[in-house]
Subunit: 299 residues, 2 copies
């Protein structure tokens, strides 16, 4: 039984950072998010790949308990090529080949529709809306997005956000979407659209959780060796949603814990290229870092 439906992209990424490079590596928002979620619950993925997508990656997802029946097989896999400069805060895109993603229509296995938890990782907001409309009785819909959709599909994006319970976006996107440099104002605007909460991811500076009455400020983990930040935002959102699906507790205080688990998985992910680190961490690594997060904010 799928506990968390995750829609997003599956990609082959070619990435260069000051610390190395990879070509056609396993990536995409749905992959990072579902792997991150799989540390806490059983995700089912909705996405499209091409015939060129290595079977070992699908096997890896399955080995992690991820339901892959919702993956459509198209012609050619979506490819992204980008690089990071020394500050590592922003990915620079060199090339995007949408390929099969361009004509993707969600094909949802019937039993996914009974899932209570949904994570809409970054993908076209119209596809995200299709998923929302197909889930029978969602308990919570968490959604992410990115600057591309804010720029090119603003209206559809807002329409989708209005159906979500928790909006997750990064600081630059929050400023862009709500046309203010002030993150508190952006969050207050966002809270008018969603039913529950807004999370603003700030990379190395941590994450902010805003609900109607409270504010939670999660620290960033002090990483000395960041190799590749690709997918950190997706890992954050996937782990956040996965933890909620596991605990079935949607209180503000439990969302705070979910934010920290999101930060824990994202910080591990940044320490390797592609999904390298996610392949090698286990529950003890996660709990250890969770406790470090506690320690570094005690006063």
């Amino acid at each position: 039984m799928v506990e968390l439906v995750v829609i997003g992209t599956m990609a082959l990424d070619s990435i260069e950072t000051p610390f190395g490079k990879v070509k056609d590596a396993f990536g995409g928002s749905a992959c990072y998010a579902s792997i991150a979620a799989s540390f806490f619950s059983k995700p089912g993925i909705l996405s499209i790949i091409g015939k060129d997508f290595p079977k070992e990656h699908i096997k890896f997802l399955q080995k992690r308990g991820i339901d892959t029946r919702g993956i459509t097989i198209g012609d050619k896999t979506f490819r992204w090529q980008g690089y990071y400069e020394f500050d590592m805060n922003e990915a620079k895109t060199l090339k995007t080949e949408l390929n099969s993603l361009e004509s993707y229509k969600v094909e949802m296995p019937e039993d996914y529709k009974k899932s209570k938890y949904v994570f809409l990782a970054n993908i076209d907001p119209e596809l995200q809306l299709d998923v929302i409309n197909s889930i029978e009785k969602p308990e919570i819909i968490v959604m992410d997005t990115m600057n591309f959709w804010i720029q090119h599909k603003r209206e559809q994006l807002i329409k989708t956000i209005k159906k979500a319970d928790v909006l997750v976006l990064n600081d630059g996107e929050a400023r862009q979407l709500f046309k203010t440099p002030n993150l508190v104002r952006a969050a207050n605007e966002a809270l008018k659209l969603v039913s529950k909460a807004v999370i603003i991811k700030k990379g190395e500076h941590g994450a902010l959780l805003f609900t109607d009455n409270r504010h939670f400020n999660a620290p960033g983990y002090p990483l000395e060796n960041i190799k590749d930040p690709t997918g950190c935002g997706d890992c954050f959102g996937g782990a956040f949603a996965g933890y909620l699906a596991k605990t079935k507790d949607l209180s503000e205080s439990n969302m705070r814990k979910a934010v920290v688990y999101g930060s824990v998985i994202a910080s591990h992910n940044a320490e390797g290229f592609s999904i390298e680190r996610l392949q090698n961490i286990g529950h003890s690594d996660i709990e250890k870092r969770y406790n470090e997060f506690r320690d570094m904010r005690e006063f």
Copy 2:
């Protein structure tokens, strides 16, 4: 008896932000820092002003219990003119008139030399070093600096840092001084120079405290209305040092509290132009916000 010696600039600032402007307003690193420190202990100021400096400002300092005997009267007061754009993270300098600051020699009242606590606010590192060398038995020397000295007096700056116990600098300065984009690496380099701790201020993103074995990550306060960030870094450092001078406890856990008090005073300061807010807050405002800092960290 002066409990904390503060050296820095006294200035007349002309500032424009998207939310208003002021001309020849009370400012300077020593003013902000000593006012912030005065909420916790009794500072004595070392600086220079001109004959044009309004007497009411000196009276205000005295009213706050700040010892002003260490203020030298020169010819014309140091003036800074700058502006902030919408993101408010970085001051853009339009004009700097050093005036009397150019030929300033520290004139320290004899009894200041017995002070145990020292805060070296931003000013020429050679003047900071003069102060260090004049204090008989310092318990702790906290020092701040800025990009100008990193660029123009690097060697003298490093020499001064080596005599300090706690270095306070902002994220951009940390990256510039230690030639790395990674703040953890910058902090580790800085820890080789100072005896106790390094604090990296990150504006709205909070502050990081690094000691040899531990890391503290203080949140930024979620301000919806930032009017003028001028002096926030000085307030942070002054309040930090003032709290240590008050509590006489130099443990890592007490430094964490001092960092939060620094953030509390800095966040209040950003809510008004010049020292407007600092004139109007009291202990209950400080404690209230200190508790909010606690609440927004809990998980």
